[in-house]
């Protein structure tokens, strides 16, 4: 293992200290239980929006804490869900009197830990709603699995819900918007390489030089299918086809096209992917009203990409365009 670390045990803590030191105007970091929260929290009379998950996906979620997006993020160990005491402490710290929305990615550990946290928070008289994001079309048969995973649509939901909360919407409205983004978003990813979890010290799986994994999640786990490497355009076709054939896109729809890098893929290649994805979306009659290209949901140093399409309407566009000021996203300010 060749990593820019001091010790596997301290990676997350040291990174959080660095994050706090780099962005004191935006966030504060609390340890034991650990969470990142808005420097100006709690914001009175605003619904609070919280997310969380394992570390190793940076900038998600900590990089999205700030005005117009998340009020707090709870980082777990690398690729491991945070624990309920973190979400409970974060919920108490940012509650502005209008309740808190927990945005949860559909992974067994995340769902169970957030479920416990919401039960604990409610038993202490706090108002909490939870929405589980499951936009990954790579998981076909949700009857026989833990269901579709939460991937790209998660940060689109965080941005849109954060803007709605900032605009003074109620907890029920922000929750319903989150469900809407989840219902209208679809994603699919692929990997060219595995990644190495620091405390494991070796790649999670091995992939020969001429092969790729299609339908991967974001935890270095193998995907649905391993196959010979193809040119970028063919790979993009393979990712776009299941997204487009799944609900709810129709010709004439306005969409947001999000091309994400998994950590080890240069932006140069992501634009090669975007070029083909945009061409295929347009061929399907979709109007790309907004786009988003970069490495925002990563899987450590894994090389690969994921594509997300979100169906838009005027209201979602307005919320997407609303000002945001976080470490990883900044516009309109």
């Amino acid at each position: 293992m060749k990593k820019l670390i001091n010790s596997p045990e301290n990676v997350v803590t040291e990174a959080l200290h660095g994050f706090a030191a780099a962005h004191p105007d935006l966030v504060k970091v609390q340890f034991d239980p650990t969470f990142i929260y808005r420097a100006d929290a709690p914001v009175k009379n605003k619904v609070a929006v919280i997310s969380g998950g394992g570390s190793g996906h940076e900038p998600m979620h900590g990089g999205f804490v700030g005005k117009g997006m998340l009020d707090a993020a709870c980082p777990g160990a690398v690729f491991t869900s945070p624990t309920p005491d973190q979400m409970l402490a974060a919920t108490k710290a940012v509650d502005g009197g209008k309740g808190t929305l927990h945005i949860v990615k559909n992974y067994t550990g995340d769902v169970m830990n957030f479920e416990l946290a919401a039960e604990m928070a409610r038993s202490e008289g706090l108002q909490v709603e939870s929405v589980v994001i499951d936009d990954d079309v790579a998981v076909k048969d949700s009857t026989w699995t833990a269901g579709r995973r939460g991937v790209g649509a998660t940060i689109l939901a965080e941005k849109i819900c954060g803007a709605a909360a900032e605009a003074g919407r109620s907890l029920a409205e922000v929750r319903d918007l989150c469900k809407k983004v989840n219902a209208q978003g679809r994603s699919m990813g692929m990997a060219l390489t595995s990644c190495t979890v620091p405390h494991v010290g070796k790649p999670t799986f091995s992939l020969p030089e001429d092969e790729m994994e299609v339908g991967v999640g974001i935890h270095g786990e193998p995907g649905r299918k391993r196959m010979k490497l193809r040119p970028a355009d063919e790979i993009v076709e393979m990712l776009m086809e299941p997204i487009l054939s799944d609900l709810p896109f129709r010709s004439g729809d306005e969409v947001l096209l999000f091309v994400n890098g998994l950590g080890g893929t240069p932006l140069l290649e992501l634009y090669v992917v975007y070029r083909k994805a945009a061409e295929l979306a347009q061929k399907a009659g979709l109007k790309i009203s907004r786009n988003f290209v970069g490495s925002y949901i990563t899987s450590l140093e894994m090389a690969g990409t994921s594509i997300t399409l979100l169906k838009l309407d005027a209201r979602l566009i307005e919320l997407w365009d609303a000002p945001v000021h976080t470490a990883a996203l900044r516009w309109g300010v």
Partner: protein
Amino acid sequence: MQALTATSLDAETVLRWLRNCADTYVRHKDELTDLDAAIGDADHGANMARGFTAVQGKLDGLKDKDIGTIFKTVAMTLISTVGGASGPLYGTFFLQAAGGANGKMTLTQEELVTVFDAGLKGLMSRGKAVVGEKTMVDALVPALEALRPVGDDSVAAALDRSVAAAHQGADSTVPFVAKKGRASYLGERSAGHPDPGAASSVLLLEALQLAVHSPG
């Protein structure tokens, strides 16, 4: 200290069990991680070692406490330190088990079965899993069945049966296609590997077996 022929489990043995858990999960950390890397995300070994090491740190403060209090402390410690799915699952197991052990300094064999049953029901409802889905349930359900006392049996003898049944249950997961947890995303590709959660459940019971067999 209890004898091998004892027909009940005392609080002192429970504390020794939990101390053994920390040792065994640290010792088997890489093994569990390797099992998890094959069909999951390679964090199970580190998570269990972290959780039970934290439990070990609390044991000195639990001397002379009743078994219910011990279980509750274990539950809250696991829930707040393990993360992943195993934290809430094992945490819920101990939390639900605590109910039947409140105020008790010893558990009879029948009480041990009741407490295990309550814990397992809690774990299954949290994880929404049943036997055959390639999870810790595949080891724990047969382990509970085998724990039920037979004749004038001792706790030690019942645990020997229970651990053997857990092993068999864990081995039975090899050909299964996972239907729960991260391994389920692999579909058919999860077959041919043992379930890491079932493996860690076997270690949990073996640690209790060791505590009963080697007192003090």
